[in-house]
Symmetry: C2
Subunit: 431 residues, 2 copies
């Protein structure tokens, strides 16, 4: 192979992202070749439906019906996996490609969250590349940012807005004063949310991405099962109003920290102060912050989804491979990643936003206040608002800084109380 | 050399950044070795004053009096240049190191802006690494972001807040309502501005960085001489108030664009709308935006200076080299960078903020309005404010979008008019 021989790509999956990769290489091929030192060329493709019109010409590529044949395509140096799904055909293809010594580039966050360690081990055994820039934050090069840009730092925490659908919904609730269900329906109509939105709005998708970031930041084995997850279904328009009055905006954050006896990973709606850049991230944008012991706070921000941005990340990985500028996927050999214990979040200190929907009767406030006192939770701010249409009277409090354990105890004491007409909502305050 | 043999570093310059690199490798050495695949070790150092207390132990390194001997140190694989200055000892050292086949890592924006092409050519001839992440935006990995992360995109423009001193001054003027000279004195007392601050506040430093970003973004030869530069000396507290009333903040931006018949590069105070993330970048922080045809708008943000962040970027480059993950400094061979024509800014369309300090007499406004009309400049907003302490009466206008040529013509017509008590200030409105 001469220095200018093309990097030959087999592309599995021709949905919007797959078609985007074809379109990008058509539009920017000469520039990509200039930057990569050699052309990057698709030689073969595979997808479920050969005939579907994708707006790009795929007749020029070798069509392969069987994904497992594609994975070992004799003309291909690298396989790009854009099928999706944590297991099934994507995983079979990925294993086959790496076993055959091909490089693998994927946008599949679920597969990497669940099987990244195995795939990295396979890649290293075959001296092949495994790259997944597009799996986290779409077009934002945050994998490279952590693996390469921040590599000299001990990272204390990595966190960010990892799901564009949730951020779109929260910022629309914020700007329009509308409720969750209403905005979700709009997001679905606009194509920003899936017909079955649970994966996004319940935080699973963000948790997949977070677990990938945590491995890179801390040198720990991917531990998706260790992510505490809650989504945004229970955030009311009223919460957004209360947060704003306090000087905060609500964002669904994925956050991973070292300390507390292990690795702490959580996806949860947070109150973000207006002085923090994440408070100003609106719409479907993604943003990731890494805090390092020498670099301080780094922020990476951009489009978190969409065919163009995702294709940009996929092709950036292909360029790394074409240049020969790649190494272990998690920066260090997979075998050296540490199995991190799951940290006890109870030890974690912070301020809490607590919202109770209560019956409009005498003594409710006293009951809540007593539960807080008995658990040792110190209240900084308390607001009671008149009857809310669907949720009774709302009581909102912000606690002073203290261990999360105490707040959990207080809420445990209140569990099942007839004074509460709905589950309390506990959100963390980002510092 | 086995895979685990150390990468051996000769360090030239032991000011705050040099000492920061020593401190970082002391604190994070084991982690760096884990991520780099092998240890990164300083073997030799050189600086002007051997005896000075730097808070780090340098007695364990080979001390070399002569920088040019250090550049060829037989035990060193890579030379780190932290001397500073575009020419003189830094350039001599850099040339000597690359000629001797050593890798070169530098934080020297002036040297790279003026001599980057020559040094990249030397590096490629010697098959050695040339890396300068720390030269732009301190700890923010924006060189890697453009070279690697955004590599699949045609970039339409790259711009950002590239000088922390200016951003500190502007945001302090904003928060305190104080005037430039007053805040500059404070910044000097705090160590955020040099005793001779011209390099920063007149935009030269930002222009060095911009010319480096432009080469990476557009594949053009570095063209520092093609940067149109003005700084922040003439921004009044009153301008900041007027901008805020219009929904904008004032930031010194470096901006480079392709088009207009060539490469357009400018450092200039801009009005940044509150909806843009750069409006929320406060203090000494740096932030760079790159706009690509597939990825859309990418933002990289963090600490733009200081020993810790700069050391972080220097060691990230060393890690790339230790991994063998490096290639041409400008992504493509230096010989293939295009000599870009300097674009005619007159063709550029935009909205302008114009502030006039005028004599308080009849007919002044008519004179200005006539000059605008005759040059074909359409006025969107006009405000006249009562007498300002030092600058007479202020007239502020915002134009409709139009070619910059027209605004330049209008200001030319007004030049030398006895109605103006000071030079008009022209700021561009970022879109």
């Amino acid at each position: 192979m001469t220095a200018s021989s093309p990097l030959r790509v087999a592309l599995a999956g021709l949905g919007t992202v797959g078609a985007g990769v074809v379109r990008l290489l058509d539009a920017n091929g000469a520039l990509v070749a200039r930057r990569a030192g050699r052309p990057v060329e698709i030689v073969a493709v595979s997808a479920r439906d050969r005939a579907r019109d994708r707006g790009v010409d795929i007749a020029r590529f070798d069509w392969v019906d069987d994904m497992n044949v594609l994975a070992r395509h004799p003309q291909a140096d690298v396989v790009v996996e854009l099928i999706g799904g944590s297991d099934g055909p994507a995983l079979t293809l990925a294993r086959a490609a790496l076993t055959a010594g091909k490089g693998l580039v994927t946008a599949n966050k679920a597969m990497i969250a669940h099987h990244g360690l195995e795939l990295a081990t396979l890649a290293e055994g075959a001296n092949a590349a495994l790259k997944f820039e597009a799996a986290v934050a779409g077009g934002v090069p945050v994998i490279k940012g952590l693996r390469d840009g921040a590599a000299a730092n001990e990272i204390s925490r990595v966190y960010g807005i990892l799901n564009g659908t949730c951020n779109f919904i929260l910022t629309r609730m914020e700007s329009d004063g509308r409720d969750f269900a209403d905005v979700l329906a709009e997001a679905q109509a606009l194509g920003f949310a899936e017909a079955d939105p649970g994966f996004d709005i319940d935080g699973i998708d963000a948790a997949h991405k977070l677990s990938i970031l945590a491995s890179l930041a801390f040198g720990t084995q991917p531990a998706f099962a260790g992510v505490a997850i809650s989504g945004i279904r229970h955030v009311l328009a009223a919460d957004i109003v209360e947060a704003a009055a306090l000087g905060y905006r609500i964002r669904l954050l994925g956050i991973a920290e070292a300390g507390h006896g292990g690795l702490f990973q959580r996806v949860h709606p947070h109150l973000v102060p207006l002085s923090h850049p994440l408070a100003h991230v609106a719409g479907a944008t993604n943003a990731v912050v890494a805090e390092g012991n020498f670099v301080g706070r780094l922020l990476f921000q951009g489009a978190g989804a969409g065919d163009g941005p995702t294709a940009s990340a996929v092709v950036a990985d292909l360029i790394d491979i074409a240049r020969g500028e790649f190494g272990p996927a998690y920066a260090m050999p997979a075998a050296t990643l540490v199995a991190g214990a799951i940290a006890d979040s109870g030890d974690r200190r912070g301020r809490a936003y607590l919202r109770f929907a209560v019956a409009d009767k005498v003594g409710v406030l006293a009951e809540i206040a007593a539960a807080m006192r008995d658990a040792g939770v110190s209240i900084e701010t308390l607001m009671q608002r008149g009857a809310h249409a669907d949720n009774g009277v709302l009581v909102v409090m912000v606690t002073h800084e203290g261990p999360e354990r105490s707040v959990a105890h207080a809420l445990e004491k209140l569990r099942g109380s007839p004074s509460l007409v709905d589950e309390p909502l506990w959100m963390h305050m980002l510092v």
